[in-house]
Structures are given as C-alpha cells and as structure tokens.
Amino acid sequence: MEVNIKTNSLADANNCIAKSKQSSLWRWPKLLLQSKTGTVGFLIVFVVVFVAVFADSLAPHNPAANNLGDMLKPPAWLDGGTSAYLLGTDNLGRDILSRIILGTRVSLLVGIFSVVVAGIIGILIGILAGYYGGLIDNILMRIVDSFLAIPSILFILVVLAVFEPSIMVLIIVIGFTNWVTYARVVRGEVLSIKEREFVKASKSIGTRNGIIMLKHIFPNIISSFIVISTLSVATTIILEASLSFLGLGIQPPEISWGGMLTDGRNYLATNWWLVTFPGIAITVTVLGIIFLGDWLRDVLDPRTQGRK
C-alpha cells in the first residue's frame, strides 16, 4: 500500500513516474504470456509479419519466373516432386512456396490497411452520429442504411472499372465498402459512452465537443474497434480472394493469397496443391489474428486488466 508514502520533492514523483512507465512496458509481454491462445496468436502474426517484411530474401525462387518445363510439379514429398520446389509449382511452373511468401505482403497490406480505411471512416461517422444525435444522427444513419443496402460488390466493380486496379485502389475500395459496420458499432458504443459520467464531467468543465469526442469518446471505443477489426482483417483477406474470382483482385505480377486460390481453383480436382497451401496460409494467419484479437479484447477490458 503506497497510500502512506509521502513524497515531497518533484524528483521523487518523477522517479515514480519513470517506474510506472517501465512497469507498463513490461506489462504487455507478461499479459501475453499469461494467455496461451494469445501467445500462439502473437507468434503466428509475428511470423507472418516477419515473412512479409523479409519476403524477398526468404523466397527460394523468383515467384514470377515461369518455367514451362516444370509446370504443375507436385510437392517435394510426392511422386514426381523435386526438392527444388518444396510445395510444388503452379500451372505456369512458378514455385508455390515463393509465391506464398511473397503473397504474404499483399494479403497483409490489403487486410490491414483496408480495415484502417474502413475504421477511420466508420469511427468518424459513428462518433458524430452517436454524439450529436438528433438530426445529424438521423441523416448519417440514413446514409449508413443506404450503403448497407447497396451491395458492396457494386462499389467494388464500379470503382475498379473506373480506376486501374492496384493495391492502393483495392485498399481504398474495400475500406470504403466496409465502413458501414464500424459506423454502426461505433455509434452504438458512443450512445452508451456519452451517457457515462466522465463525459458529463468534461462537459461540466466547459470542454468543447470536438475535444470531448477526441479525448473521451474515441479512446473508449478503440478497444471494441480493435476486436471487430481483427476479425475484419480476416474477412478482408478472404474478400480479396473473392474479388480475384471476379477478376478484380490484385494484378500480376503482384501476388496475393486470394489470387493464388482463384488461379488454382481450376486445378482443384487434378492438382490440389495449387490451392491447398495458400488456403492453409490464410487459415493459419486468420486464426492467429483472431486469437490475438480475442486476447486484446481481454486485455483492453478494464475488468480483466484489473485493479492490479
């Protein structure tokens, strides 16, 4: 119990500050190790991010180099496979392992940043609607309803028809079609947070609305945002696969797991390895992200994070 310690000098106080800073730095790994699934999730995500960053040096082959002599080679451990292509080759004789390694990059980029884009729009609109209520809320929510009713595939098709598909465009487009969910969730959250007394307290001090939204509302919705967004990263990776199915995904020579799945789907019956390995990559990554998200939810929940 530190209640009775009287520290009179500022230096002492600063000392305490430094200590508490340090302890908060150590708190995260500690909390992480306490949760098994959290640790697993973190490890998976860490590995995936690592692979994405160092993809170029990790890939054993040039992933775009097609080798017409080595088309559709099975994985190394099967008859006809060679150790040169650990996971086999695709229909243009490209090394699947290298493609998966390189594909990590795009899939993660698209997965994460489109969620960020959606999150920014959704949070902004959700906070405004929830905080001000009344007419503003009504107008914004009608817009949200409208967007909900317009099939997202329409947006994606049209935008990709207008702009040349690139990672940037894809991120923006997916983000732009997914913001609605966030707006709804955030608005609901804001409606309850703005009734909490600390918001009233801040108002009673004379704080301006903008500041209240920024300092009081926003930090308190961020944790539930993190939880839905980790799930959403997963959905986005898969959405990219579906877009590839429609011919709207990432363009070669850019490689994505979704694109690999789509290209390989024609070979499902005959050359299973074309889709199985990118499929496993997606599943494992998604699993990792979901585990990490679940853990984050627990940690960010003040009830579990606890009164020490």
């Binding site: 309803d145 199915f245 789907r265 699993l287």
Partner: protein, 305 residues
C-alpha cells in the same frame, strides 16, 4: 406499433432516394455501356449512333432526373442487355434468391446454435478450441473453393447431390451449405461470446439458486437472452445473403440476383442495376424491420414507441 411501422417505412423514402443517386453516379462513372454492347470491331460511328439512339448523349443531371421521373411512375427503364423492362427481370430472380438465402440461413442456424452453445459451455476446453478452429476455417474458406470442393466430393465422386442448377430440394443442399458455412462460422463465435456473457449474468445465478439444472439453465434461461445480439447480426447476414451470393450462384449456376447484378454492372446496364439495387434495398430494409420486430419479440424490455 402501427405508427412505429409507418415511421420505419417512411424512412425508406430518403434511403431509396440516396440509393438511386449513388447508384446512378456509380454506373455513370463506370463507363460507356455502348462499347460493351457492340462487337470488338465495331467502329466509332456505330457506337456514336447507338449512344444517340439510347439517349446516352444527354448531360448527367438530365439523364438522372429523366430516370427519376420515370421511376416515380414505376418505370425503371429498359435493360440494354436484355432489351426488356428491368423490374420484371429482377423480380423473376427473387424466388431463387430467397430460396437460397433461407436455406443457407437454416444451415447456419442448425450448425451454429449447438456448436456455439457447446463451445461456450466447455469454454477453453479442447472442444472449444476445436470449434473455434473450425469456425475460423469456415470463415477462411472462400465460397468458390468450398463450393467446388463440395461438387467434386458429393456430386461428382459420390453423386449424392446434383452438380448444379435449381429445381428440386436436393439441388438446394450444396449451395446452401456453401453459403451457410461462412455465416455459421460467424454465428457460432457470436453465440459463444454472447452465451459466455449471459452465463455471468445475475439472473443465471438466480436460476441456479432455485435449483434449476445446468441444461435447463443453458437452454431455457441463457439461450433466449443470448439470441438477442445474434438476431441483429443475423439481419446483417441475411442482407449479405440476398445480394452477396454471387460466387455461390456462379459456381452452382443458380439463377439468383447476385449473378444478374454483376452481369448488369459489368454491362453497365443502368436500368437493371438500379432495379436490382432498389429491390435489394427494400428487401434489406424490410428484413431489418422484421429483425427489429423479432428482437422485440425476444426482448420484452423494448417497446414500440
């Protein structure tokens, strides 16, 4: 209650207005339908002539208000692609779309409820982990992949179900599983977490203190409460099922709205896109309304005012 319904339905008007405008802008931006209607080797004069004939030379706003005027009198215009009235084209798809959506929802519910409850009850056990893994897999499998797999296994290899097409009940099974799995995966997780939360509620403790058995606590006291958040998500999911079944429809050559819509967008077929989005919008809003009512049915605390 009646007033509530009327108010909700009146809200449709601004929403539909926004939708027509957004869709019009989108399709307008998407490009020239004419170039898609003529063969690859048609000349520029041919295209210009067609444009003229279709009234596509007018300025944007003129075209929009012209469209809006027609719309108010119930006319969505004529499909470029099918040279037919757009609305009937859309409406004739509804039965197939509904059929698939309803069946997939059923699959999802039948899978998700027991799994969700089970994994909540056995929280952190091996079974829970297994179900979580399964639902992640369910989410991570793209529809086309699952659909083709199912066809290969159950329709081609074992010939239990027909490969594709729409007709009898058995035709519905594989597409419904394909589409329902993803929904089930999400629902399972949702039921699990909402169940976990409910199980910590005071009234569960009350029930236990009355001597109610564990099974009854789960299925009577907890389940209905845990459905309340599930219903909201389900309504969102149904909206997706109505408009977003495209890939499953393509794989199983199921003549639903999704295929129509994508083809219409690809062909810049303004009238059909508008009609389809309009119909989907009304459906989505009506579905939302229905879920709201169900919500109210499940939760007596909400009143209609």
């Amino acid at each position: 209650m009646k007033k509530y319904l009327i108010r909700r339905l009146l809200q449709l008007i601004p929403v539909l207005f926004i939708i027509t405008f957004v869709v019009f802008v989108l399709v307008y931006l998407a490009g020239d339908p004419v170039s898609l209607m003529l063969p690859e080797d048609a000349s520029e004069e041919d295209r210009e002539a067609l444009r003229e004939a279709l009234g596509l030379n007018e300025p944007f706003l003129y075209q929009y208000f012209h469209f809006l005027g027609d719309l108010i009198s119930g006319d969505f215009g004529t499909s470029f692609r099918y040279s037919q009235e757009a609305l009937p084209l859309v409406l004739e798809r509804l039965p197939a779309t509904f059929e698939l959506a309803a069946a997939s929802m059923l699959v999802a519910i039948v899978l998700a409820i027991p799994l969700g409850i089970f994994s909540a009850r056995k929280r952190n056990s091996f079974v829970d982990l297994f179900i979580t893994g399964g639902s992640v897999l369910g989410k991570a499998m793209p529809n086309f992949w699952l659909g083709i797999m199912l066809i290969l296994m159950l329709a081609v290899n074992y010939q239990i179900f027909p490969v594709s097409g729409r007709g009898t009940f058995v035709h519905l099974v594989l597409p419904a599983i394909t589409l329902g799995t993803g929904v089930a995966a999400e629902m399972t997780r949702l039921i699990r977490s909402s169940m976990l939360e409910i199980l910590h509620q005071d009234y569960i403790r009350t029930a236990k203190s009355k001597g109610v058995s564990d099974t009854l606590v789960i299925f009577k006291h907890a389940f209905r409460n845990s459905l309340i958040p599930v219903v909201t998500i389900t309504s969102l999911q149904i909206s997706h099922l109505v408009s977003g079944a495209l890939i499953t429809e393509t794989v199983f050559s199921w003549p639903g709205l999704g295929q129509l819509l994508v083809q219409a967008v690809n062909g810049r077929d303004m009238a059909v896109v508008q009609a389809a989005v309009f119909v989907i919008a009304i459906l989505v809003i009506v579905i939302n309304l229905i879920t709201d009512l169900v919500y109210r049915l499940l939760d007596p605390r909400i009143n209609y005012s």
